[in-house]
Symmetry: D2
Subunit: 350 residues, 4 copies
């Protein structure tokens, strides 16, 4: 009954099998290996266009490299104030950019509204005292489990581009968002104005593999050096390439995401039926943020269930967590079973 996050399990079987299969024989080092080359081609197909692909082992590495390609050391990137890049990466974007600032804006469910972005941009002074905004970063799905539709991404991107900002999408849970939306990878990214994507795979079936996808080749020019000097160019690149081969083959990645989302739906249904429980936000991907009676939460923990309390900073207007209640986050993954969910719900009911 571990719903703490979707990074607590290992690799899914096809990913592990691909890793085993790619282990033998000699391959060129530093990302020139066959599996990595194959993944680059496969991602170009999946995204329906040429793109520059850089495989790395962590989402923090991918996000920070992305922002360092978009934002100069004297610039700033704007994101939601609960975004992973501003809150959970111990200053990786500041480090990789050489000192740029992240500006955090409010928004329900960790989701940025176009109007919020536009008003913030309008409020900035052109003075040299201020760090000029150069990138917008949005999380897909958000840290509260909500998804941006292609229209919402496009509205944000239009405002951003109009003010000279590039658009980064932190897709740590990209697959979960994608299958929730039922759109194509192209529609939710470059066709909607995304310039650089962190294509997450670790949480959805890999052990450690993310693809930094740069849709505008001009933005990728410095990336080989940026990645190398950050220590994120793996010596035996096949480790990354092979995982992603297994991940992308036969729509395995989409199957994993569909499973995780379905488990989240099942969990949501059960949780909302608990006495005194409700969801703070609609369940859209593989995360749900229920408000539980404290008593229920304690009963669950006593039974061995694992999950994190969550910040109340981005609740919808009117929603309030009472003193006898607690806001928590439950995350499902490709490996979550119906049995785990049923056990969790049984424990909740006591």
């Amino acid at each position: 009954m571990n719903f703490a996050s979707d990074n607590i399990v290992g690799a899914s079987r096809p990913v592990l099998d691909a890793l085993i299969a790619a282990n033998g024989g000699a391959e060129p080092a530093y990302g020139a290996d066959g599996p990595t080359r194959a993944v680059e081609r496969r991602l170009a197909e999946i995204f329906e266009r040429d793109c520059a692909v850089f495989l790395v082992a962590t989402g923090t590495g991918a996000n920070a490299l992305a922002l360092s390609a978009l934002v100069p050391p004297y610039g700033c990137a704007v994101c939601h104030r609960e975004a992973h890049v501003i809150d959970d990466e111990c200053g990786a974007p500041e480090f990789f950019t050489g000192g740029a600032k992240l500006a955090g804006l409010p928004g329900v469910g960790a989701k940025l509204a176009p109007r919020t972005l536009a008003e913030w941009l309008a409020s900035l002074s052109p003075s040299v005292k201020q760090m000029p905004p150069r990138a917008l970063s949005i999380s897909q799905a958000t840290e509260c489990g909500l998804v941006y539709t292609p229209g919402e991404v496009a509205a944000l991107a239009e405002i951003a581009h109009g003010a000279g900002l590039k658009v980064h999408m932190d897709g740590a849970r990209f697959a979960n968002a994608l299958v929730s939306l039922g759109v194509s990878p192209a529609e939710i990214t470059w066709k909607a104005g995304v310039d650089v994507l962190t294509f997450g795979a670790t949480k959805n079936g890999c052990l450690a593999a993310e693809a930094l996808i740069v849709f505008d080749p001009a933005l990728a020019e410095a990336m080989p050096w940026l990645r190398k000097r950050s220590g994120h160019t793996l010596s035996k690149g096949r480790l990354l390439g092979a995982q992603l081969q297994g991940y992308l083959a036969n729509d395995h990645w989409l199957d994993n995401a569909r499973h995780a989302n379905a488990m989240a739906a099942r969990l949501a249904e059960g949780v909302t039926a608990l006495p005194g429980a409700r969801l703070a936000f609609e369940r859209q991907a593989n995360e749900l943020l229920p408000v539980l009676p404290r008593e229920t939460a304690e009963r669950l923990r006593a039974a061995g269930a694992m999950f994190h309390p969550w910040s109340e900073a981005s609740l919808p207007e009117g929603e309030r967590v009472a003193p006898h209640e607690t806001l928590v986050r439950l995350v499902t993954s490709f490996a979550t079973t119906e049995g785990e969910i049923d056990a969790f719900l049984a424990a909740a009911r006591g």
Copy 2:
């Protein structure tokens, strides 16, 4: 016949098996997993003392993190002028330290002599114009395949410590050096004055795993944050922990290194028997740097053999590569077979 490097093969079987074995079940994220904890304990046993251990996926990451813990942004680290940290990491140490300088000194076989270090330290001005030296970094084995004895390390470390410098050992080929020397891990590191070790494992049997070992806990205080903000804290830490479990169990790492070294010895014997060929440096670990007739090198390449030409900057006094000759580097690994060596030698003979 690929002798280009020891990073062109995958994982050795016990390492891969350990990875497969550790794949199932839930584990805490970010390095709090069971396999990582077990490896930390195992390394403390192997090095016969408590030490702080930080697993990362690349040698560049480990080296740069190590130097960033030892050298302030306004300081400098001294190393051989062909050291990997100064020559092959695209400025990772400069990046991670926030702008420190690397000073490269000469030395036969990419090996630093105590006298060279002492004279350089004595030549420095105390002026604030100069970046003060704060760390010495040595490679074990060196980039030309030579090993430092415990006495040699101790002599360098004594000079370094006397001048206020900490000592880092880049052990990308630590196991190969160790079995070549026939000493204990403790004897060649902290007992000889090494403060921080990059314990390489990727080249000797893992896919991507290095252990940054800090012998003085005070030097490790900032490391959890330094690693996190560099994106080198893996979400599913078991990937690193499991590889190293397999690597360290049953002296597998030492067996791998012994095999690689034995293959290098066999190759050295055969190469020196080739007409017009000689070794530029004694073969001590798993690398050899022969001077070959250009004709021989061309014949080898034509037969499909892979290897790199090498810099002549650190040749022994008196050694000179004639116009009809070429200096190359041949590297063996745990996976090198006698058959490959025999085929290489046969091709060399034409």
Copy 3:
């Protein structure tokens, strides 16, 4: 009628005279000159203790150097969200620290309340994902012209020190605050818990001179190199030393501040007598932030008066600027004359 800021005039006469007097003859370079040495001794007297003094030409340089001595690249500094260091220095603290973050907290009149600081510290997660707080920076006087009393500084410093943070005071308008409070320099700084002070002099009579004063010598160890590598070690150090000699001699600096504050008091009295005008905050030093009828502000601008509109983000509870009103900032200096004030008030009355 220029009340835009206190940096729009040149040097006061005694400062200029000292500069002229120190111009002749040879002096050692890089801060080893006689005037600089004399200033170091004088400041130790003024602050009643040994301290390390580093003269620089800009407040941004002094503040950023101060923070870089206190905060590691993976740490954060906390300040008011309208503090000069977070809002007006184009990322200088981020640059000098190598990527640290500034956290901005709310507070009426750009002044931090102890409770706000304590609650923020308590809210932080100990996770390695978060950048640990290492310094508190407060502005004396604040960006809205308010001063911290010794008791208020001590209350903040006690909380900060208790959580492992060092305390920086940005004293761009230190002299104005000092004479407003009627306390000694020691009482409002190190005796109240300040570890590092930016002793501003540019705004109060110099052309370009600030003293970075480090009360705890251990914190100053790296400063000579930090200053040198930032280009803030002047070749002809007498330029800074001489200005400060003139500034500090015969309590000239206090006289200048008293004059500026008196002019601000006179201006405040006149402004509050204007129809429809009121002060958003008490006038305590040499800045006042009146809410003016827009009509009045326009009349003033038309008459050639210069001043800046100001942010409404830190107004006292209950204070609101109506649509027909505007919040502006008026700053007086050592050079402000009664005539200017009378002319301004006359113009305001129309």
Copy 4:
């Protein structure tokens, strides 16, 4: 008898007068003041073209800002191995660029030969392991007092531009070189291929004033922010503007340089007539590097003469400093008098 450097005196009279004249009245802050604007126009006239001008107080600041506009954090700048930027600025270029590397090449008299540059460029590997070269920095005059002719600059710049490098000239002693060469400012800079110039004025008559001149406007786009975040944008910009107004008016700067060079010529004549003394390099600007009998040098120091010993690393082929000799550097300035020189020579003769 102080020949230690040309930064040991204050400002020349016309510079000081200009500073005094500009002290009164209100001026906009941060470089928008009248004197600064006037200097920008004057420099455009002097250099016979539009250019972007940024005034700063130190040469280290100007050089580091220049390099940070030309070299990305993963790149490198090449210069002579005794260049001020690599040897005397405590890592300012590394700091401002965010971690770029400086590569130091050999050359007689601290002067780079085109062939040396070309061979170095040809030796570089295109591998991502190497930091790509992006700028050439040359000192005019060099650290050994030699000047580059327009033809020599053009030859270097052609090679640099051909390899994608921009060209920076560190003109700490630009005026001395200029009058030595008898060419126009345009001829020795942008017409010969210089992209960015540090136009030094501090050593030749100012107290603290350098102009960073960017001939290609595209390279200057980020400079306002780069300067601001480095703390080098002076609040009361007139301090810099006024000095340079006085410096540039009526060819005062050229007169100062001619005087310094003439004094150096007189000193050179006298020194070479001393028994056992000779110049290591031709005297071309305001520095001479004589080899003196140790006895002579000691006699001079005993008599109170001040000068620095100098590195023997860039001596001409065949030149050797014997054990009973010493290589020293003597620098003259606008303020050097014939009397000082005669006293120095008399003391040398004993």
